[in-house]
């Protein structure tokens, strides 16, 4: 087994740079998940580790050896493909033993290693079947079997579960995790599904547009997302974002989400911020602000409520059953100890519980280009921050302006809520 070192790796296809300087350190025996939206370069990075793609610049090392110019077969890594890529004309046993046969191992040793792997993966009864005679989950297991018979230094997985149905995905997830705990082989696992990453990985690397946005343990990413992109990407349903301003250590937002007297300011100075609250940290609370229920989704174990709070769409996730119905007005409040603040200009995290020293909000740093925006926000507490919010959301790929409350219910947001929030915002 070996660690994988990725140092300032870049990849260009012609003029298009798809990886723009990626640094990742995978420790020995670690399970690292690469997550990010489709097209961000995860597969490309994985294929570069495998040796299927060349490296435009930077360095990739496996077990302390730089492998930039080492062909795939000498890297001692095994890869599981999204489509499984089983050889259709070979039986399960032949599929699994193919690499050993190419390596010139004697037939009895191949048989022995194949049957040991088949034992681990529960494939014994299927060894003589052809891939087309297997179900999706069985094919997936054969693909893993093909990787483990070789006992490689590193396993590479490229979205191995995305072709399975939801239920099977959950059980295969556990199976892969158990396999890793048993074999302790260094693993790099690509997925676009953050739930997979959260549940399986020791370390998550969040990528976007060919760059690493943040890497850390699942809970680090959940508790202290470095920026709005990571905050929105990790966690399901996604984090709610509310534009507003900090004045005298209080957060004031268009929808008046926070009580006036609560000192939650993450920094000393005043300025525009974006507040992030995870749906699971919102609850129905009579001391909170008013919101109109748009949609209620019951799963039995939990309730997801889509709300309109002063024109901002918010999601609330409750672990208990809520009996609320669409159109009803409820009061909601966040868990004040679990709020996140972000700089609207850069999207970066603000405040104390971040492990890195973050810059303050853009206008306190004397960024003059932000000043007019701030003035607007002071004059009209609703539109200023909201505009910034939508810009910030758009930067991470969320188009909030598409939201039309009237599509959800007929009454529209009550003028009372508006008046209240505007009032709360003006000096």
């Amino acid at each position: 087994m070996a660690g994988v070192t990725i140092e300032n790796v870049r990849k260009s296809y012609g003029a298009v740079e798809v990886l723009r300087g990626v640094d990742v350190q995978v420790e020995n025996s670690e399970f690292v998940a690469l997550v990010g939206p489709s097209g961000c370069g995860k597969s490309t990075l994985l294929r570069m580790i495998a040796g299927l793609e060349g490296i435009s610049s930077g360095e990739i090392g496996i077990g302390g050896r730089v492998v930039n110019n080492v062909p795939p077969k000498q890297r001692d890594v095994a890869m599981v493909f999204q489509s499984y890529a089983l050889y259709p004309h070979m039986t399960v046993a032949k599929n699994m033993g193919f690499s050993l046969k190419l390596a010139g191992l004697p037939a009895d040793e191949i048989a022995q290693r194949v049957s040991r792997a088949a034992e681990i993966l529960d494939l014994r009864p299927l060894l003589d079947r052809l891939p087309k005679q297997l179900s999706g989950g069985q094919r997936q297991r054969v693909a893993m079997g093909r990787a483990i018979v070789r006992d490689p230094q590193v396993f590479l997985f490229d979205e191995p579960l995305s072709n399975l149905d939801a239920k099977l995905r959950v059980s295969m997830r556990a199976e892969i995790k158990a396999l890793h705990q048993r074999l302790k082989t260094t693993t790099v696992y690509v997925t676009h599904d953050q739930v997979e990453a959260m549940t399986m990985a020791d370390k998550i690397v969040v990528m976007r547009d060919g760059l690493v946005e943040q890497q850390g343990s699942p809970l680090e990413l959940y508790d202290r997302p470095r920026n709005m992109f990571v905050a929105g990407f990790i966690g399901s349903p996604s984090m709610n974002f509310i534009g507003g301003t900090i004045k005298k250590r209080r957060f004031v937002s268009g929808n008046g989400l926070l009580g006036h007297d609560t000192d939650i300011s993450p920094m000393a100075g005043d300025g525009a911020v974006i507040l992030g609250v995870r749906p699971e940290h919102l609850s129905i609370d009579t001391s909170g602000i008013e919101a109109t229920v748009l949609v209620v989704e019951q799963t039995g174990s939990e309730t997801t409520v889509l709300l309109d709070a002063g024109g901002t769409r918010m999601t609330l996730l409750a672990r208990e059953r809520l009996t609320t119905v669409p159109g009803e007005t409820v009061r909601i409040a966040p868990d004040y100890s679990r709020l996140h603040f972000f700089d609207p200009a850069s999207g970066l995290r603000l405040g104390g519980d971040s492990d890195v020293d973050e810059p303050g909000p853009s206008d306190t740093k004397g960024n003059t280009s932000m000043a007019p925006a701030r003035r607007t926000s002071l004059k009209n507490g609703r539109t200023g921050p909201r505009k910034k919010l939508s810009q910030a959301l758009e930067a991470i790929g969320i188009r909030q302006d598409r939201y039309r409350p009237e599509l959800y219910y007929m009454r529209g947001p009550g003028p009372k809520t508006h008046a209240k929030s505007v009032g709360a915002d003006s000096p």
């Binding site: 495998a50 299927l52 795939p72 077969k73 890594v77 095994a78 890869m79 493909f81 999204q82 489509s83 890529a85 089983l86 050889y87 259709p88 004309h89 193919f98 690499s99 190419l102 390596a103 087309k132 093909r146 070789r150």
Partner: protein, 275 residues
């Protein structure tokens, strides 16, 4: 659904007409092989079948037909093997070995142009080339010529089949430690056997039927079946019935191959993807 479903009768009539158009000349030719020259020339509709044409063509001392048949088989089989091997390697290389795209495009365009030139136009060129290197009137010369003439079609067909093999299978084999020749041999080739079969059959049939180049490159000893059949039409007499009998015999290999390998051809030519 109602608007879409039509009566199958008109379709069947059209198919029947097409089939008749294709089959009628064959039936006529085979029938002519069983007639006497007189019966044929008098246009009798009902006739008593005779074996004489076939026995004449096959066994008479003056007929070389069995020799021609053997020649055709030798040339057809060997040129097909040569052509399909080269075409498969070429298709694999063009598709998978990361040639700059202009190389592949120019190459394929050139094969297409070459394919559109009628073989007759190059017959004399073939002859002078073969004579220069001393290959006139040899099987080697004709085999090389036939393989070359069939290469464009074979490359185009094989390129389609190779392209249909999912790239991930090849990558999986590379990850399993296979070198390029082993990828080709263990993974690509087993998956494109229907394609190889279809291409081989078509190539063989083209070689079997080829006339112009065979005529210029062969003499009595090396003449192939089409050349021999043409010899029945002589200056003073056209031996229609023997010609028809030879033609009927010449159809046999293609017929047998098609019947035996029809499954492969259809599978090969309609293969959507190797799943």
């Amino acid at each position: 659904m109602n608007g879409r479903t039509r009566s199958p009768v008109p379709l069947h009539i059209v198919l029947a007409i097409c089939a008749a158009i294709v089959i009628a000349p064959i039936v006529w030719t085979v029938a002519a092989g069983f007639r006497t020259q007189i019966s044929l020339l008098m246009g009798e509709v009902l006739f008593t079948p005779v074996w004489s044409n076939f026995s004449e063509v096959l066994w008479s001392k003056t007929s070389d037909f069995l020799l021609n048949y053997r020649n055709s088989i030798i040339v057809g089989v060997l040129s097909t093997i040569l052509c399909v091997v080269v075409a498969t390697l070429c298709a694999f290389s063009l598709n998978r070995l990361r040639w700059p795209s202009w190389v592949a495009h120019i190459f394929l365009a050139w094969t297409m142009i070459f394919h559109m030139i009628p073989p007759v136009a190059l017959a004399s060129a073939w002859f002078s080339m073969a004579r220069t290197v001393g290959l006139e009137n040899t099987f080697t010369g004709l085999i090389l010529a036939h393989a070359t003439l069939n290469l464009p079609m074979a490359i185009w067909l094989m390129a389609v089949f190779v392209r249909e093999v999912p790239k991930e299978l090849e990558e999986a084999a590379i990850m399993d430690g296979a070198s390029t020749p082993r990828v080709l041999w263990h993974v690509i080739l087993p998956l494109i056997t229907p394609g190889v079969a279809a291409t081989s059959i078509l190539t063989f049939i083209f070689s079997w039927n080829e006339f112009a180049v065979a005529l210029t490159l062969t003499m009595k000893q090396t003449a192939t079946v089409p050349v021999a059949i043409a010899k029945f039409a002589q200056d003073f007499e056209i031996q229609y019935t023997q010609m028809a009998a030879s033609a009927a015999l010449a159809m046999l290999p293609a017929l047998i191959v098609l019947l035996v390998a029809q499954r492969y051809i259809v599978k090969g030519l309609t293969q959507g993807a190797v799943k």
